[in-house]
Amino acid sequence: MTQRELDAAIAVTRFGLGARPGEIDAASKDPRGWLKAQIRREGADVFKTDGETSSQRLAEFREYRQEQAMARQDKAAPPPIPPGASMQMEAAKPAADPVQTARQFIRQNAAGDVLGRLQLASETDAGFRERWALFWANHFTVSANKVQLAGLVGPFENEAIRPHVFGRFADLLGAAETHPAMLIYLDQAQSVGPNSRAAQFQRRGGPRRGLARNDDQPRRTFGLNENLAREILELHTVGVDGGYAQADVTEFARALTGLSIAGPREPGVEGVVFRDATHEPGERTIMGVRYAQDGKAQAGAVLADLAAKPQTARFVCTKIARHFVSDDPPPALVARLEKAWMASHGDLDRVAEALVDAPEAWAPRPAKLKTPYEYVVSSYRALGQEPRGLGQVNAALNGLGQRPFGAPSPKGWPDEAGPWAASDALVKRMQFAQQLGAVFGPKVQAPTELAAQTLGARLTPAVAIAISRAESRPEAVALLLMSPEFQRR
């Protein structure tokens, strides 16, 4: 085994999403060059959806809510059908509960997005580019924890994340924080400056229906919500030790007011809006810097400053190193990434190249346990397949605790082995391997050859022997997918 053969296996399995047949061969001529060729300024691939943008999905959801409200006013009216619902659905469920129907419709949108995303990851010959995109999608997690969000997480990733993952971090940050999905997920859409014109108007007994509203919930007071401000600081930029205090969180939340999504009283506008009327007037001081009252530009200036802070480079580069290389990343690796980040002012293509060039990233020992998503995707890749429907793969990911678009918190999915190595999870990984083995195993001509194609120089003799002695092709495939070297990267 040559060093280059081992490097090729590492390039494809650790940096990439696991080998498809022939991929390690393709990388073996120049493993580092093979990776760098996947870095491109214009961003990662977008995955296939039904083509609807977040604005279209928002409009559909809003129209539906309005129709629903009208139906409630006029009880005799038939239940509305969500726009875009197929005739088939209409015929099949004529008297369905409108809320249930809408939810089902939104779920179908989301399911299509999830499948498109899984298929891209399973098929792509640029596995490193895709892993890089998945890292950033997790860094800027939006989770479908509200009905409205289920149809927005996919468009969010395609619109705000993927185009920017090899560009400037500041641009990525700006796109992510001002996307409607993020504004809804972290409650920014409803946040109103306590001394804004809108809040003062309301205090004087203004109308019950506020500007920030896009539904028909009962009346509530206008005010600040500091969720987005806190998570930008803690999770997206400087990190919890980045040198901010509660007062900075609140000040930042005030600066962010005005940023929201269009409501029903703003016809012709979809998606993100900035409303002067709900913006908290006045100068803000955040982490020692004063920001003049500048309307929309005030929060923009804060974001730009946060993006440029060395704490941000340190925090995010540590996460990159942890994701790609080790739960306890070597400090020398983090330092290299930070250096590339600071020297390029946050050019993420430079950071990706620095990662490829870092010797620490090529340690022979695979230190990372695959997450369930990585395990499932790399299993399909090994077999040269892709999921054709969501049923089985969704059940597997749910059972393993990684429901697609369903991260448990804004922190995203854990990136360390600890949470994923639960004993129950190992049993469920085994069951998934058995299922794939049963479905695809019979068509595998030579399981030992498949193992060599999948793991290259990382295949250990013990596993090669076990596979060669398997009593059936399904069993051989399950053994390969459950082997210690396949479970890690």
Binding site: S191, G401, M430, A478
Partner: protein, 397 residues
């Protein structure tokens, strides 16, 4: 039923360790005692769990979030959220108590820091990588075997660490005819992570089947709704856990997590759904345990409470003091656990949050000491490092 059930004998024949089943008679924990920790993640709003409806500052601070007349009265001051009827029934029977102003030592108002401190039991953030409940198991295991189990697909930090701990979530059961488990155990022989985890997972599957914890999921070969948050799923989860806890050689220590308590906006309906799940989980556990309930203590905790004032979006932001629940058939009589600092402006923590009047570790140490007989030295030094200054709150369990 498609596949024959894997019998205990078949398992033994396959050469697999059966840690639970081999250790029936040697529990170190006082006979039959069980301890369950439920973690409500996201920062549970204590003022909506057990509302101080008799505190004159409660309604002015809370506005539209204040509980109404349907709140379930506990005493002159406190009433439970209407979504907690099972807890209320237990409370009236003296089998549930509230600790209305508890907090971890962490004050950063970050979910992730606070959950780290909550689960590690350390005095500060990121000080250790193992959980306090795991170290409690380790400490008790010195005198004999103690089994621990988390319910859910991922392993919670509170139970990660040096002592082996299993995990379980609903699934389809293991195919008894497959050679794969045996072959894998062989491949994992020298793997410190995968080897023990798979062995424990298989043993837990066996226990699940033999104890009935797996419920319908094995009989039909069908997946039961996995780890859902709905009432039914939560009730089923509670009952499954009860079956595990009752099984001979089953776990005595368990941890469960519920998500979704981060209610920045539109809090009332969201929290009501979550609390209904919590109530169903506890109800399932209580019913499922039957007579064993009297030997069980359940502690419900969260990483921090939320702002005393409602925010501008019908919710609350990250705060400090929150409410813990202690439940069990053998609780000592008493009112609230710890003091109620009140909600006067001067009493609020940083003019914002419920004052943290009781260090959560004091309560946890007290329960471990009273209920499980864990000794003080281990509590002060190992289980809750550097906590000698935090005296165990005795006399609750």
């Amino acid at each position: 039923m498609t596949a024959p059930l894997l019998s205990r004998r078949a398992f033994a024949a396959a050469g697999l360790a059966l840690p639970f089943l081999a250790r029936v008679a040697e529990a170190a924990v006082p006979a039959g005692k069980k301890f369950v920790v439920v973690i409500c993640r996201g920062g549970m709003d204590g003022l909506s769990v057990a509302a101080p409806v008799g505190d004159p500052d409660y309604r002015p601070l809370r506005g539209g979030l204040a509980l109404g007349d349907d709140a379930l009265r506990l005493d002159g001051t406190f009433a439970l959220n209407p979504a907690l009827p099972a807890v209320h029934k237990l409370a009236l029977a003296g089998e549930a108590r509230i600790a209305p102003a508890v907090a971890t030592p962490d004050r950063a108002r970050s979910h992730f820091e606070a959950q780290d401190v909550l689960e590690t039991g350390a005095a500060g953030v990121y000080a250790t990588t193992s959980g306090w409940l795991n170290r409690a198991v380790q400490s008790m295991a010195a005198a004999g075997k103690v089994e621990a189990l988390s319910v859910g697909p991922t392993a919670p930090l509170i139970l990660r660490g040096p002592a082996p701990a299993g995990s379980w979530s609903p699934g389809r059961g293991v195919d008894a005819t497959s050679r794969l488990p045996t072959l894998l155990q062989d491949l994992y022989r020298d793997d410190p992570l995968l080897g023990p985890a798979l062995a424990r997972g298989l043993a837990t599957e066996t226990l699940a089947r033999e104890s009935g914890a797996a419920g319908d999921s094995v009989m039909g070969g069908q997946m039961r709704p996995a780890a859902g948050q709905g009432r039914e799923a939560a009730q089923a989860m509670g009952q499954s856990l009860a079956e595990f806890l009752k099984a001979p050689g089953g776990p005595q220590i368990a941890a469960v997590s519920l998500d979704g308590f981060d209610t920045h906006a539109n809090q009332a309906p969201l929290l009501s759904t979550r609390l209904a799940s919590l109530d169903a989980l506890l109800d399932g556990l209580h019913i499922g345990l039957g007579p064993a309930w009297k030997d069980t203590v359940v502690l419900v905790v969260t990483e921090f409470g939320r702002t005393a004032r409602a925010n501008g979006t019908g919710g609350t932001d990250h705060g400090t003091g929150s409410t813990a629940l202690v439940l069990g058939g053998g609780l000592k009589a008493g009112g609230i656990v710890g003091d109620w600092p009140t909600l006067t402006r001067q009493a609020l923590f940083e003019d914002r949050d419920v004052y943290p009047a009781l260090d959560l570790r004091a309560l946890e140490k007290g329960l471990l000491a009273d209920h499980l007989g864990v000794d003080r030295r281990a509590l002060d030094a190992t289980i809750f490092p550097d906590s000698a200054g935090v005296r165990p709150l005795l006399g609750v369990a």
